[in-house]
Symmetry: C2
Subunit: 340 residues, 2 copies
């Protein structure tokens, strides 16, 4: 059952349960501070495939299959799979999952896709539209660089504000009952575009959208910062995270204090792994939330957190045409095991 | 309220109402047999913009604004907008609607997007997740040719099986109550890929997905062909339509008889408008269903139809890499005014 708390915020009255989740990553991600959290670390960035795009598809498929395997459910029992990715026409997703035989609803939320797919899967389960639904997304450094920036062989220099697209995928299986993390509330974001045109500075483009969604969630649900252990943003990186704090304080009077974490600053060791402002890509927050944060919630180390997926909605063509970068952020409130 | 009739099929127990819909098209579409149905015909294919991508964004925005205007609702009352398009990273949508201030959930269903967005908007309204939701999509001949095939200036020859991407957009406003067409059932499709690699032959790639979704809907809802006045497919074109009939008969034992219509064969006069196998593009079925078929349902000329949106999920990159074309079809059962 769903209860509207405001225009953008929904309460899931009988919260659906994330009965299993999985995160799989590439070699560099597997050398970062979260290395022990992931289900699989692929040392071969190509995953044995002929192209980067095929490698990304294999990565997303691996995450979905691992999450389903951990759930103990047969894939024939999954009613609907919500997924998308950064590649043009979402081929990371469509070619990754085409053989699974699971009914499929495609999403496009750029790097907000893990939050968006988790929101959709949760709404469908909570409303009786699905008994079991899967959420998933992926990104791959090489397929993303090739598409959004330059051929890898060109060896283009990366400015300090740039982020490193994660080679990673995450997936979650959502059901009506069982043990696991629960999904309590959802806040769908509006598009924000404050005029940033630097396609290397996603963090700055996305921070205002994250701020708007966080402030809206708090306002519409009548909750305060102190009601949540953490606000986990997707991939704002170091620069975007700083901006989020500033925008929330200045424009909305909201102070996150020490309760903000950003997956983009957690996936790599920024100092030693040469990733400039941090990690990005749909797979970044997908892999970090579906492993590290889900574990901490399951183990009751965290009671309740807000996962804010952040997406920059530009394309190579729009950037080449000099357009600014619209962004969107969707929030999903996750409750620790047994707390819903 | 939602009731699951099977793995893929949902019944909307208190069916939501399409309180308004709109379709806007370009010049060539405005010269076709449906010319009198559309809300706006733009004689300037650029819509006064500097690029084809910006023109497509303007087209989608025009459809959304027209549908909202016809609904008599303020845009601040719309809780959620579901939309997507064919352009890489869905910039037709994101740049089109960024200024509207409506919470946004992005979709990627290629040419099935009108059915997918209508399904999502209907599920959210039926389950109490939104009071008013909007569904929308668009396509533009020039932005699509440039992206998927060749530069327009090249003047590449089009094979007989090719379809003409419609310059068109459609949008629908879905609410809990009011007068209008109702959404009774939804069937989410699975990805089908029978190995077609000719990116000019979308109809053949999509026909098996349409057949699978139609057969699943009939089976899971316990209904027969005779329970529906029409089965309206998105954009199979002349070749795909013929294949749909064959596949349904041979593989599923379902005979649509004279109850099949395809928006791809209706938008243009195939003989005189030089469009080879017919029309395609997200905007094709969006504009035709949101005007012509909604009108016939409102006027009770049709009692009940199945709208089957069909999407080919390849990208220019996947085609260049020699991949086959995965396809998906989603079905939405629309009931005539007052019949739910």
């Amino acid at each position: 059952m769903l209860k509207k708390l405001g225009r953008q915020t929904l309460e899931l009255v009988k919260p659906p349960i994330i009965i299993a989740s999985a995160g799989v990553v590439g070699k560099k991600e597997g050398e970062g501070p979260l290395r022990d959290e992931f289900d699989v670390v692929f040392d071969d960035s190509r995953l044995g495939k002929d192209s980067w795009e095929q490698a990304e598809s294999a990565l997303q498929k691996a995450a979905v299959e691992k999450a389903i395997e951990k759930s103990g459910k047969a894939k024939e029992k999954i009613d609907l799979l919500f997924a998308g990715d950064l590649l043009s026409q979402c081929i990371g997703t469509t070619f990754g999952i085409r053989d699974l035989g699971i009914p499929f609803a495609g999403l496009y939320g750029a790097c907000s896709t893990m939050a968006l797919s988790l929101a959709m899967a949760s709404v469908f389960v909570a409303s009786g539209g699905a008994d079991l639904a899967v959420a998933a997304t992926s990104s791959h450094f090489c397929s993303a660089e090739k598409q959004f920036r330059q051929p890898l062989e060109y060896g283009g220099q990366r400015p300090p504000q740039a982020q490193w697209t994660a080679t990673a995928a995450g997936s979650a299986v959502v059901g009506k009952e069982g043990k696991g993390v629960c999904v309590e509330r959802i806040c769908f974001g509006k598009i924000c575009d404050l005029g940033i045109t630097d396609a290397n500075n996603m963090g700055a483009a996305m921070a205002p959208a994250a701020a708007d969604t966080i402030a809206t969630l708090l306002k519409e649900s009548g909750t305060g910062v102190e009601d949540y252990d953490l606000f986990v943003t997707g991939d704002l990186g170091a620069i975007g995270s700083k901006l989020l704090t500033e925008v929330l304080q200045k424009d909305y009077g909201v102070d996150l204090g020490n309760r903000h974490k950003d997956c983009g600053t957690m996936l790599f060791d920024i100092d030693s792994q040469d990733v400039n402002s941090g990690a990005s890509g749909c797979g970044c927050s997908a892999a970090v939330v579906c492993t590290h944060f889900m574990r901490r919630l399951r183990e009751k180390e965290l009671k309740r957190l807000v996962f804010v997926g952040t997406g920059a909605l530009m394309s190579p063509v729009s950037s080449q045409q000099g357009e600014s970068i619209p962004a969107v952020a969707h929030a999903v409130v996750l409750g620790g095991e047994g707390c819903c």
